[in-house]
Subunit: 339 residues, 2 copies
DNA sequence: ACGCGCAATGGCACCGGTGTCAATAAATAA
DNA sequence: TTATTTATTGACACCGGTGCCATTGCGCGT
């Protein structure tokens, strides 16, 4: 029953009594073919169950059908969302997704990635934040002639290679929302320094405060590193303050939830004593109690757009959009201050 | 500065004044080569920055260097852990990881996967649970001559193609732990029916109860689907019981946390009023309050072992181990019953 | 000195597709 | 009717490696 080995284009050609080239034309849907031969060849293909060999195609075309996602982001949900988005964007095409994690702390990331690109030669790569902000990597892709798209926060404003979210505006909106609810003493838990997205988020925070004529109290701004633990310590420091904030904006959900737990440990009620807002809208945020009001980061859309940009450079729509909107998701971790 | 295009094996051969075949021998570390020519060729390779073309190799060897992870599991943390494990197992080899998600609810999963395998022709695939339990898929791999490893719970006991965890024993241990703490009315939130792992976990539960001479109260056994929401509803039903349980064992962490939230909504304190134990040891479990006592599922190890089985069939160690141990992680969601 | 075995290398076809261009047949123009 | 397009198809080299087998050079036993 089982076949000795896969039928090749030669088998099809022989059986259909045409040349390989003609078969090639059929599988590539070339228009210069008589309807008659096309049918005949298609029947043979179906009969013997021929499937073109991607390796051979890749060799002949000097272009394989692999998109790689390069990341150094340890957040599981983020990663899975990106993968899903990229796969959405790739759906219906011949492309497949390869994942390449790199060690953020390794001193030879660049070499590692160069090695990967040279060996695997993906057709294109999606660079996920935060490594997408590394200009050296982008330059490397250029040098190696590898298509790439960088995902990030606005600022990487080179439309051809970029898909961004407008974090600044999103945070401005979220903080304005807190202010509208009546909060005045609003704390900020920052993201790791040295990257664009935390900077943008901080800028949005400052803009919202400024727009409402409020001053940013530096005592209410705590560093964080996007990890749960850093949220816990920042949150703890904040609630132990003599004049504690009535609301906390954390630059991502994990830290927001960390802060929530820290507040609760100190005996505070949420949201009555402290309102909390996060950023990302991970599933986590609706799984905690109270559920977390947060900013939905359009990460899946960004990833889908990035993938489309890579594989269909002619798709005007994909290539026009490079800045995607965020949205505030109201849940139950915010109420007006009770003081 | 930039190269017109990548140097090929022909360039190396010409410059080093040897045949392509000799260069091929050098890059494949063939032993039948004089030290002198090897050095010379290696120098040329380094000089011009030659990297072998994987597509050409794949074509000639009729074997590419891609391992695919096929999954239909929506859990982000699980997925990322598996990916990490597989990549660990692949580290140092020429292999790369491709991800292929499939839609669990789609009626033509098999066709979808067949299409993927025929087109992409990965060297091997790792089947993640729950789709790993689908015998049809395994048979498909056999038919297509594609190496595969199924990850699962014990029962798929075909050592060559399987890497498992002993869920039954792990649950037995966890429930015995609850019993040792003094609990008698212990509830179970099950996983989705029709899969091995929930069955095994349930069996472990029953064994532990039986071993302690306790009877399983069917009113305390609630269905679940491994989702947070199903944990909430099961938990709610349990705490609203007239004679509510003093401890709940949930078949995964998400449901355990759902149950936790349901209990809290009903005004119960955790762990004082209800102790809770989960399964998986996701990061989530240490991020909730109180932190969740749970069973560590050796998923990363399983995935690493699976990858090794695929790429180095000669690795005796990888091929001997197909059953990996779990471990109980004690955190703060369990105390003796206060009644 | 001669034949032999072995180590080191080369030659060439082949893996399974695609690009280029020529060849043929059919259709249209002159 | 014949020259000229135009629509279809084929021949053949090539993409960049590897497998198989032939060839060459050299140390060695006799």
């Amino acid at each position: 029953m089982a076949s000795d080995s896969k039928p090749t284009i030669n088998d099809v050609a022989r059986i259909a009594e045409v040349s390989k080239k003609t078969v090639s034309r059929v599988i590539n849907k070339s228009p210069l073919l008589s309807e008659k031969t096309r049918k005949r060849v298609e029947n043979v293909i179906a009969d013997i169950g021929y499937v073109p060999n991607p390796q051979a195609r890749a060799l002949a075309l000097r272009r394989n059908f692999v998109i790689a996602a390069i990341h150094d982001n340890p957040n599981a949900q983020f990663l899975v969302n990106v993968q899903q988005g990229v796969l959405d964007g790739l759906a219906g095409s011949d492309f497949n997704l390869m994942v390449k994690p790199v060690d953020r702390k390794s001193p030879n990331i660049t070499e590692d990635i160069r090695d990967f690109l040279e060996r695997q030669r993906p057709y294109g790569v999606v660079l996920l934040p935060p490594i997408s902000e590394n200009d050296e990597i982008a330059r490397l892709c250029d040098d190696l002639g590898c298509r790439y798209v960088r995902m990030g926060s606005v600022k990487l404003d080179e439309a051809e290679h970029t898909v961004s979210s407008n974090d600044r505006e999103a945070v401005r909106e979220a903080v304005s929302y807190l202010i509208k609810k009546g909060h005045r003493r609003i704390a900020l838990i920052e993201g790791p320094s040295g990257f664009t997205s935390p900077q943008e988020r901080r800028a949005g925070f400052e803009e919202a405060m400024a727009a409402a004529g409020l001053e940013v109290d530096e005592a209410l701004v705590r560093p964080g590193s996007y990890t749960f633990e850093s949220g816990v310590s920042a949150g703890q420091a904040l609630v132990e303050l003599e004049n504690r904030p009535t609301a906390i904006f954390a630059c991502n959900d994990e830290m927001a939830i960390g802060a929530m737990i820290a507040a609760r440990r100190s005996g505070l009620l949420i949201p009555e004593d402290v309102s909390i807002v996060g950023f990302d809208d991970t599933p986590l945020s609706s799984h905690v109690w109270p559920s977390l009001t947060t900013v939905r980061w359009p990460i899946v859309d960004m990833a889908r757009t990035a993938a489309k940009k890579l594989i269909s450079p002619e798709d005007a729509e994909a290539n026009a959009t490079w800045l995607l909107p965020s949205a505030l998701i109201e849940r139950s971790s915010v109420v007006p201050p009770t003081v």
